[in-house]
């Protein structure tokens, strides 16, 4: 239960870091909060040759708004900073509500938002929340810089769209539309555990209270965040009623998801949870969206 030896590298700035990463992309890992990486190193499931410690890169540690009222966050922002930031509570209340579900206070004081996203645990909260929020990720390598929508970033079990030599540097969350509601629901065996099933939800209504956009994104039911596309489609363009929401939750659990069977829960149980939690999150989102009128 001790990590294998590695070379420890402390870049002075982001350029330094990207240069090193470019040279050693196959054998280097980035150390941010370390709350997932170091456990896997303790188990020797990960044995990187080089560990690039980015904790001193203050340029990745910012929270600000853009001209359109959207949020921009550096990848090195720690969970407790997101949890306690008044700007985030105001601009991205869904994210604010998600944070206490991530691990425990001891984990949130070290873990970083970028680290959690690139780790891409299928039962983690942040990836699904980011997909629900239509977030975009800025990734950088020595050679180029590009933006990836959250929906395209998570490509499989612990896998992302990052190419060798690229790192996540910034997360951008668009401003909440005027009439929108949100909700986050999760069920786990113990508080702070990864979700058996969780769901992040965003509903956007137009001025006539017709559903303009629905985002129902599950965790713990697949290889990454799962957008319940058919369920969302069943809501868009309609005036939302309790019956419609109930029906959408059913569509999500029956048609959109293929939950795994494992020692923690059977596929059928996860399907059941997906329907119950999906319904709860849609109902709360609608309630909140209606308050904006």
């Amino acid at each position: 239960m001790k990590p294998a030896p590695f070379e420890y590298v402390v870049p002075k700035n982001l350029n330094d870091c990207l240069n090193f990463l470019y040279q050693h992309s196959e054998t280097a890992k980035i150390l941010a909060g370390g709350q997932s990486l170091i456990p896997t190193m303790n188990f020797r499931m990960a044995q990187p040759e080089y560990l690039i410690d980015i904790n001193n890169l203050n340029e990745l540690s910012f929270i600000r708004t853009d001209k359109t009222g959207g949020l921009q966050m550096g990848a090195l922002i720690r969970h407790h900073q997101v949890e306690n930031d008044p700007l985030i509570a105001q601009k991205a209340p869904l994210l604010h509500e998600v944070m206490p579900w991530i691990g425990h206070v001891q984990i949130r004081s070290r873990g970083t938002i970028g680290g959690s996203l690139v780790h891409a645990d299928p039962a983690a909260e942040l990836p699904s929340a980011m997909v629900a929020l239509n977030a975009r990720f800025k990734v950088k390598s020595k050679k180029k810089e590009r933006w990836i929508p959250a929906e395209q970033f998570f490509v499989g079990l612990f896998a992302t769209a990052l190419e060798p030599g690229e790192m996540l540097v910034e997360i951008a969350i668009p401003a909440m539309p005027l009439h929108s509601g949100y909700s986050f629901q999760e069920y786990s065996r113990r508080k702070g555990d990864f979700a058996l099933v969780g769901v992040a939800c965003m509903l956007v209504l137009d001025k006539n209270k017709v559903c303009e956009q629905a985002r129902l994104v599950y965790m713990g039911v697949g290889e990454g965040p799962v957008l319940a596309a058919q369920a969302c489609q069943s809501l868009v363009g309609k005036t939302l009623t309790p019956d419609l929401l109930q029906q959408a939750a059913k569509i999500a659990s029956q048609n959109d998801l293929t939950p795994p069977n494992d020692m923690h829960a059977s596929s059928a149980y996860r399907r059941h949870l997906a329907e119950v939690l999906g319904h709860q999150s849609l109902s709360q989102s609608l309630e909140r969206a209606e308050k904006s009128f």
């Binding site: 001790k2 190193m41 001891q106 004081s109």
Partner: protein, 166 residues
């Protein structure tokens, strides 16, 4: 074999300058290099909470940090709570009075989790206490007496604050 890195780190108010291998966990550094064995080691993957210390005043798992990352930072371990058995910290007194431990293995982790919690929540509700200790496992007590102890500690700390204010 990897190189040794010089680090200087303040633990319980004392500045230590040591050379460490990068893969040395902070928990092992505290226990084996500094001899501060009050910090315990349980699961070594960030689940059980016994290795909790304060890193720059915030609770953190020392088993999933490297000692080299503590360079230039401030750490407090359970040894920093009191100097001798006669003068325990009010939180330690409360744990003793309410029988909030049996074997005691998990206690340092609970104490270090609760120190910043009580600073931020001087008058916590039972629900807040349960949430606060959700990242620490205890296999003896069933948690009930730990919750009682936190309530008692809160009132002891409030009383001592009132005395100082007067």
């Amino acid at each position: 074999m990897s190189n040794l890195f010089p680090i200087s780190v303040t633990v319980n108010g004392v500045l230590y300058q040591k050379e460490v291998e990068p893969r040395l966990l902070l928990s092992d550094f505290l226990r084996h290099t500094l001899g501060l064995t009050g910090t315990h080691v349980g699961c070594e993957h960030g689940v059980c909470g016994v290795c909790t210390i304060l890193f720059d005043d915030k609770p953190a798992r020392s088993c999933i940090m490297f000692a080299v990352q503590a360079n230039g930072h401030k750490i407090m371990t359970v040894e920093g709570l009191s100097n001798d058995m006669e003068h325990l910290h009010p939180l330690q007194e409360a744990f003793s009075e309410k029988h909030a431990l049996q074997c005691g293995f998990c206690t340092p982790g609970f104490l270090m989790t609760l120190i910043p919690f009580l600073k931020e929540n001087p008058d916590p509700t039972e629900e807040q206490i349960r949430e606060a200790i959700s990242g620490n496992l205890c296999r003896c007590t069933g948690y009930q007496n730990i919750i009682e102890a936190v309530k008692l500690a809160a009132s002891k700390l409030q009383a001592s604050k009132a005395t100082v204010a007067n």
